[in-house]
């Protein structure tokens, strides 16, 4: 139990630091990669990891509308990852991660539909399409390049931690 709590805290901070470190690049992020890998390797512990990450994001950048998006977007990615957990193809995960990046704006616009009505939601989605396409390409390339090696590494680390 204590080990799990420490692991979730550390990995939550790791994701947070990676997000902040790449924050200067619009929509190029390693969070999607981490969410997918941590879900596959650490299973349900992703819930605690995401809780730490999302809380740290809110404390750092303020609890704006974007923060409410984070409350459902990242858990959704974890859920989809869990659904496809038997897939072991770098290309498959790259496509899934790319699709998530592409749909990030559309899914995020749900908050704006609630607070700004149909006009607000549509405006948010349409104006973000170029960023969503960048997000898709970035996620695809990063996952394709890093999935296999990082998954192997994380599984070895997990086996050492929980032996």
């Amino acid at each position: 139990m204590a080990l799990d709590i420490c692991l979730m805290a550390i990995l939550g901070v790791v994701v947070y630091v990676l997000q902040v470190a790449l924050g200067f690049l619009p929509n190029i992020e390693l969070v999607s990669l981490c969410v997918v890998l941590f879900t596959l390797v650490f299973g349900k512990r992703i819930i605690g990891i995401l809780a730490v990450f999302i809380l740290l994001e809110g404390l750092t950048f303020g609890f704006g509308t974007w923060w409410f998006m984070y409350l459902y977007l990242w858990p959704l990615l974890a859920l989809v990852t869990y659904f496809f957990r038997r897939m072991d193809s770098s290309l498959g995960w790259a496509m899934l991660s790319g699709a998530f990046g592409l749909l990030f704006g559309a899914l995020g616009s749900i908050v704006y539909f609630v607070i700004g009505g149909v006009g607000g939601g549509v405006a948010y989605f349409l104006s973000g399409i170029p960023y969503d396409i960048t997000h898709c390409i970035g996620n695809f390339i990063l996952m394709l390049l890093l999935y296999k090696k990082l998954r192997n590494l994380l599984e070895k680390l997990r086996d050492k931690i929980y032996m």
Partner: protein
């Protein structure tokens, strides 16, 4: 057999992803607002903390609101990693410790795009209102 099935799934997935990307690109190119070329007359009203107003009637061929606000020195150019973040407008600076900020609206309606992404047209009216509370 399973390998062929998996490969088929990946190919279908790749095709679908490319189609959706293309679709998004088409939707964006059909719906993106076009900046009006040539001179435009727009109004920017700054509403201060004490509720006094200063109206800036601007003639410009700028394309977006950020260019107007900075070019006409209505706001101080404060660039952050997220773009322009207005702290000072018409000489008045907000104090973020007191949750003060400048709210941008167009014809009184909330803007859902930042100043750089807000393309201006002739006759547009914008407001910068001193606001307290997030």
């Amino acid at each position: 057999m399973t390998k062929t099935k998996n490969r088929k799934g990946l190919v279908i997935g790749a095709i679908v992803l490319v189609i959706v990307i293309a679709l998004f690109g088409i939707i964006y190119s059909m719906t993106k607002p076009e900046a009006n070329a040539g001179e435009k007359n727009i109004t920017v009203t700054v509403i201060h903390k004490d509720l006094t107003e200063k109206v800036f009637d601007v003639q410009t061929d700028a394309e977006n609101l950020e260019e107007v606000l900075i070019g006409e020195k209505i706001v101080e150019d404060n660039q952050t990693e997220f773009g322009l973040y207005i702290l000072t407008a018409d000489g008045e600076t907000v104090n973020e410790m007191n949750q003060e900020w400048w709210c941008i609206t167009k014809d009184g309606e909330t803007l859902f795009t930042g100043a750089k992404d807000t393309l201006i047209a002739d006759g547009d009216k914008y407001e910068l209102t001193f606001t307290t509370g997030w």
